[in-house]
Symmetry: C2
Subunit: 188 residues, 2 copies
């Protein structure tokens, strides 16, 4: 039997995106965003949706670029902290001891210690309501070399975090369930 929960932001999974930017003075900042995802294959694009009040929002408006760093399970405390305080009031890199790495293609820093890092140029911004969605063209993806076999990222080594919006808990990735474009073929 189905039960209605009303109009709410409840899907699984949502990501834990760490959005990196510089402010006008070049000071690096990061914030945590669960509202986002891939939104185009060609050009490759990822979206992040932010409130206008966020320091990161102002930085993206000025710099027209951002990074997305994907935290590992072991980075959960830092990733959570990045979502609790504002970069206007605290220097999140200094306080966590993490390193703002200079991007190769965009004027935004990524988190050196986090396993996967995307460099993105803003190509559109969409006013929706409380949140503004920035669509970033992914111009490069970097990975810790030890977490890939050749050019293939190994998710079991990366151990990315997931977020469950309703309970507000973080989770790891579980067991492999099957291969896409394959396990459903029997129905054809």
């Amino acid at each position: 039997m189905k039960k209605s929960l009303g109009a709410k932001t409840l899907v699984y999974p949502t990501p834990v995106f760490i959005v990196g930017t510089y402010n006008e003075e070049g000071k690096p900042n990061v914030m945590t965003a669960a509202w986002g995802g891939i939104c185009c294959s060609s050009p490759p694009c990822v979206s992040v949706a932010l409130r206008q009040a966020a320091h990161t929002y102002s930085n993206i408006v000025v710099k027209k670029c951002f990074t997305v760093s994907i935290p590992s399970e072991k980075n959960a405390r830092e990733a959570d902290y990045f979502g609790i305080v504002s970069g206007r009031n605290e220097d999140k890199f200094t306080i966590t001891g993490l390193t703002p790495a200079k991007s190769d293609f965009v004027d935004a820093p990524y988190v050196q210690e986090f396993p996967l890092n995307l460099e993105c140029k803003v190509i559109q911004s969409v006013e929706i309501g409380l949140h503004t969605q920035f669509i970033g063209e992914i111009v490069d993806v970097k990975i810790d070399a030890a977490l890939a076999e050749g050019d293939d990222p190994i998710i079991e080594k990366i151990k990315p975090l997931l977020y469950a919006p309703d309970s507000k808990n973080y989770y790891g990735v579980g067991e492999e369930i099957g291969r896409a474009f394959s396990i459903g073929k029997d129905f054809k």
Copy 2:
């Protein structure tokens, strides 16, 4: 050491969204989309990005609404099949034996047997490149009553699927890592 993988659609996690629509004749269809996510808290909105060639794209343009059903691990074969074939050529509900349930608020069907179902009204569409992003206001969320305690959905019972874009594998949700807006407080 970081290694560059180039410009590609690689983030973790991406969701497994089953997008439900009717065509002009009222025939129900579903397709699988991994490009999407929550994009606004107020109004609550979810985005799905589709190629114009998709049957679902045409249906959304006509009906201006869609549903998102979240499959459970045990639905992985059906969810995968929904992404392999086109609704123009096959009746995906009949072939899988799943039930197109009538929504309460929008003119689009959801998958009765899948644990979580969102009813969405399109409020914006954004041309990005190969994909067009539809932004849907979430007007209701339904859950199998047995998978919630009161109004609280239990992710350990829902067992949603995740998708890993690069390896093209499905995964389950793993262990709880910690509580958001909490485990990072020690840095303050």
